[in-house]
């Protein structure tokens, strides 16, 4: 498979999940286009496309919290990526290891039964 063989949405983007290859913690989700996938594969560091700034960004280029790419997987529909990385520091701009550090409270099952 080549970067151009992935299925991108009408904005030309696909979601990329970033997971710590060692701890298996899911660190972040960002978006890639064909060029960001190419750069990620060729440089061995994570590249994404920013939907708000309309530009490419190389994770850690300013913060120093780079992500060394260990493996890039794609799903059965070839429309989402899973990037396994060796992170040099926290993924989140808040300083947390993972961007997914907050939890929804689930409904109490006894409420649902009423």
């Amino acid at each position: 498979l080549l970067p151009e063989d992935l299925t991108y949405d009408d904005r030309g983007l696909a979601p990329a999940i970033v997971q710590d290859a060692r701890t298996r913690e899911v660190l972040m989700l960002a978006y890639v286009d064909r060029e960001a996938v190419r750069r990620t594969l060729s440089t061995g560091t994570t590249w994404f496309y920013s939907r708000s700034r309309n530009e490419y960004w190389n994770k850690g280029a300013t913060s120093g919290n780079t992500q060394k790419v260990v493996e890039v997987r794609y799903d059965c529909d070839a429309d989402a990526l899973l990037v396994l990385v060796d992170p040099a520091g926290p993924a989140c701009h808040t300083g947390e290891t993972s961007c997914f550090h907050r939890t929804f409270e689930q409904a109490d099952p006894t409420d649902a039964a009423e």
Copy 2:
């Protein structure tokens, strides 16, 4: 946070990563809208919105490969979910445990140096 407080895209959707709570394997990525998040939180099983079929689906409703929700996390931008589950069977319709079972070949670093 409530399901309506998440940030959804212009289609009303947000990506939801599903991860095995025990093995930490990333199983699949699907999309949710506000109603799918509500159903996931209230039923304790995973609900998604199908972009191609324009309908809700409850993972495992036909295959039996249900996913019991252990925890629902959201990211720092509140525009992506991470759902930790206890799966009753494979996540992928191919029979593989994870939909992310194929790998991109990375460029040879010696090529990149040329």
